[in-house]
């Protein structure tokens, strides 16, 4: 078993100290559980908003797996991001039940209003738009999550309201 200090020594210079700490904490918390990689990746993304590519060697070493394997796992799952998201993440449902209630139009409206496509972030860094395939809110379609909060029966008008409400709580806006 490697000691904590050994693993820290191996951290590439690319990873800022605060991120190093978050990665190490995630590893220490879960490394002894069976099939630890996904719980570790969730903990890292929860702390940092993404899984920095520079964390890969660290994870590989801690779990005794190759870097390619760890990278392969991260890239397999849609939920894990390798770049930081905007201040707010909008996850818009594209699946059939939402389509039946106008999700295609909502999707077009969201792209147009934000001026971005899926997997992109607005230039002011406020919003990231991500597709999601079912939120289990199919009786109240169309659905989306904003920063993890679920909203149902979202038409374009409601979408605009939600953007305004979200911006009002935005710390960057409050300072300006």
């Amino acid at each position: 078993m490697k000691s904590h200090a050994d693993t820290v020594m191996a951290v590439p210079a690319l990873l800022p100290l605060t991120q190093q700490r978050a990665v190490m904490q995630a590893i220490e918390r879960h490394r002894d559980s069976a099939g630890a990689l996904l719980p570790i990746l969730h903990a890292i993304q929860q702390a940092l908003g993404h899984v920095p590519p520079a964390a890969v060697p660290l994870l590989a070493q801690a779990l005794n797996r190759s870097r390619a394997e760890v990278h392969g796992v991260i890239s397999f799952y849609h939920f894990f991001r390798s770049t930081p998201p905007g201040r707010h993440v909008i996850q818009l449902c594209r699946a059939e039940a939402c389509q039946a209630m106008g999700a295609r139009a909502l999707e077009a409206h969201a792209r147009r209003t934000l001026g971005i496509d899926f997997h992109q972030t607005t230039t002011d860094g406020a919003f990231t738009l991500e597709p999601v395939y079912c939120l289990g809110n199919c009786a109240c379609s169309p659905s989306l999550l904003i920063d993890g909060e679920l909203h149902g029966r979202v038409d374009p008008e409601r979408f605009d309201e939600l953007l305004v409400e979200t911006c009002e709580t935005d710390p960057a806006k409050a300072q300006a």
Binding site: S33, A34, G35, A36, L37, L38, P39, L41, H42, L63, E69, G72, V73, F76, Y77, H78, F79, F80, Q91, A95, E96, A97, C98, Q99, A100, M101, R104, V132, Y133, C134, L135, G136, N137, C138, A139, C140, S141, S143, L145, G148, L150, H151, G152, R153
Partner: protein, 508 residues
């Protein structure tokens, strides 16, 4: 005297404002000098009435809905806390026709109890099945489940008892119980509602499964798109541990520990073998079967992997007996199925009924037709891999075999309605697109066939060499049907071919 008021904590109720309604009731009651205790129950499954408020009165639980926060002062002033009349008053919940005509076995407690209170769980029949199981041998528990006729509710409908017997008979010092809570099919939310509304039923079912096959460790693999279910399960598992339901199994000398694990947005991980790979910390790639997971599953050990509803149906089967459950349903589809009405439907929600009613009854008697008031043109049953059915097939009974005989599937019981504005060529295209996005990539028909499928449909719609391309599409679908490793590639042709078959005019 304090009045008990129920406001749901179900994710869908919260998504349309239940939290703000609960807060408004607390505030208004305080202003009015009335004492209320607000219980956050599970969802009743009548989502067109959400946010739904129930008030406990001597005449039963009186419902009001849909309630907006701004309705609350008027409701309190009108005497809602005494169950008084108001335009939003719906009467006793149990008398609402949609609810009254259901046969709620698996969902008996959902919406009734406080989901996180173990006392409430016990007071409503909880743990009776487990106590019965503790007096039985593993083989007898398995026999009861087999005799009940319960089949896997995740979609594949494999007989649960046979799966359990395989794992029970397997020799190993370590076996696992895995709950598949990766409910990714669009139009389905029964797993979510159950986990949020009665999580102890799932836990109890998993403990019973452990007793049946000799497994001491379980995992719930929950999709990360369900943050509310995650919080409910975390609390329920902690409570169950603290009260000796988990761990010491009610002081029986047996042992069962349970862990919650999160998926990461991969639809394919709802397929049981890719779920196991994901739990092991790998890419969620499908495994070749055999070996069956019941013989060589998680970490190579014998593993029972069942859907949430399957496991949550086990306690009542043990409590009431195999015959009680088997007496519901018809043919080889025994018991009840929690059906989910979704999409463009007026009264969307959860309907738990014995097998045998028709799709038409569900869509019109329960669902009330489309939400937009236009004719229902197509219905997709069984998630994104399910066939699109035209009106001519609405009399198909809810029965696994009846659906299989029309090249459709019941799957996890999700029913998504579309009105006559739907473009079925686009729906067929989406089925292929979705498969391309979500394919695990292990087998060629699924990985490449789905991308080629999108292209061929685009050419057909653009009227390029129509006849040849349609032939090519059918040929491609045959290859995917027969050559794919799992249901992802193997069933994606269902929505495509059914759209082509029944709605050919949309491809022109």
């Amino acid at each position: 005297m304090s009045t008990t008021v129920y406001v749901s904590r179900d994710a869908s109720a919260l998504a349309v404002g239940a939290e703000r309604v609960a807060r408004a009731i607390a505030d208004e009651a305080r202003t009015a000098g009335a004492e209320v205790s607000i219980v956050r129950n599970g969802g009743r499954g009548m989502f067109w009435l959400e946010p739904l408020v129930e008030v406990a009165t001597p005449a039963g639980r009186i419902a009001y809905g849909p309630v907006r926060p701004r309705d609350v002062p008027g409701l309190i002033a009108a005497g809602m806390l005494q169950g008084a009349h108001h335009a939003l008053r719906l009467g006793a919940v149990e008398d609402i026709a949609y609810f009254k005509r259901q046969e709620r076995l698996t969902f008996a407690r959902v919406g009734v109890t406080d989901p996180l209170s173990l006392d409430d769980y016990r007071a409503h029949g909880g743990l009776a099945g487990l106590r019965r199981a503790l007096e039985m041998s593993g083989a007898d528990i398995v026999k009861t489940v087999t005799d009940s006729g319960l089949r896997g509710r995740g979609g594949a409908a494999f007989p649960t008892g046979i799966k359990w017997e395989t794992a029970r008979a397997a020799e190993s010092i370590q076996k696992y119980i895995v709950c598949n809570a990766d409910e990714g099919d669009s139009g389905t939310f029964s797993d979510r509602m159950l986990m949020e509304g009665d999580p102890y039923a799932l836990i109890e079912g998993m403990v019973i499964a452990g007793l049946a096959v000799g497994a001491t460790h379980g995992f719930i693999y929950l999709r990360c798109e369900y943050p509310h279910a995650q919080r409910a399960l975390e609390t329920a598992i902690a409570n169950a541990q603290a009260h000796g339901l988990l761990g010491a199994v009610l002081g029986s000398g047996r042992r069962f520990d349970l862990e919650l694990r999160l998926g990461a947005g991969a639809y394919i991980c709802g397929e049981e073998t890719s779920l196991l790979d994901s739990l092991e910390g790998k890419r969620g790639q499908v495994r070749v079967k055999p070996p069956l997971p019941a013989i060589k599953g998680l970490f190579g050990k014998p593993t029972i992997i069942n859907n949430v509803i399957t496991l949550a149906s086990v306690p009542i089967i043990l409590e009431r007996g195999a015959g009680f459950y088997r007496d519901f349903g018809l043919g080889r589809s025994r018991g009840t199925l929690p059906l989910q009405l979704a999409g463009n439907i007026k009264r969307a929600g959860l309907v738990e009924k014995a097998f045998g009613l028709t799709l038409r009854e569900l869509l019109y008697d329960y669902g009330g037709g489309s939400a937009t008031g236009r004719p229902i043109r197509a219905v997709q049953v069984g998630g994104p891999l399910g066939a699109y059915l035209p009106e001519a097939q609405f009399d198909t009974p809810i029965d696994y075999e009846a659906f299989a005989s029309i090249r459709a599937m019941l799957g996890h019981g999700g029913i998504v309605a579309f009105d006559d504005t739907v473009d079925m060529a686009q729906q067929a295209r989406f089925a292929m697109e979705f498969c391309a996005i979500e394919s695990c990539g292990k087998c060629t028909p699924c990985r490449i066939g789905s991308t080629r499928g999108v292209e061929v449909i685009d050419r057909i719609v653009a009227n390029q060499a129509r006849e040849q391309n349609e032939l090519l599409l059918r040929d491609l679908c045959e290859t995917m049907l027969h050559g794919s490793l799992c249901a992802m590639g193997g069933l994606t042709p269902y929505p495509v071919l059914s759209a082509l078959e029944h709605f050919a005019e949309d491809f022109r």
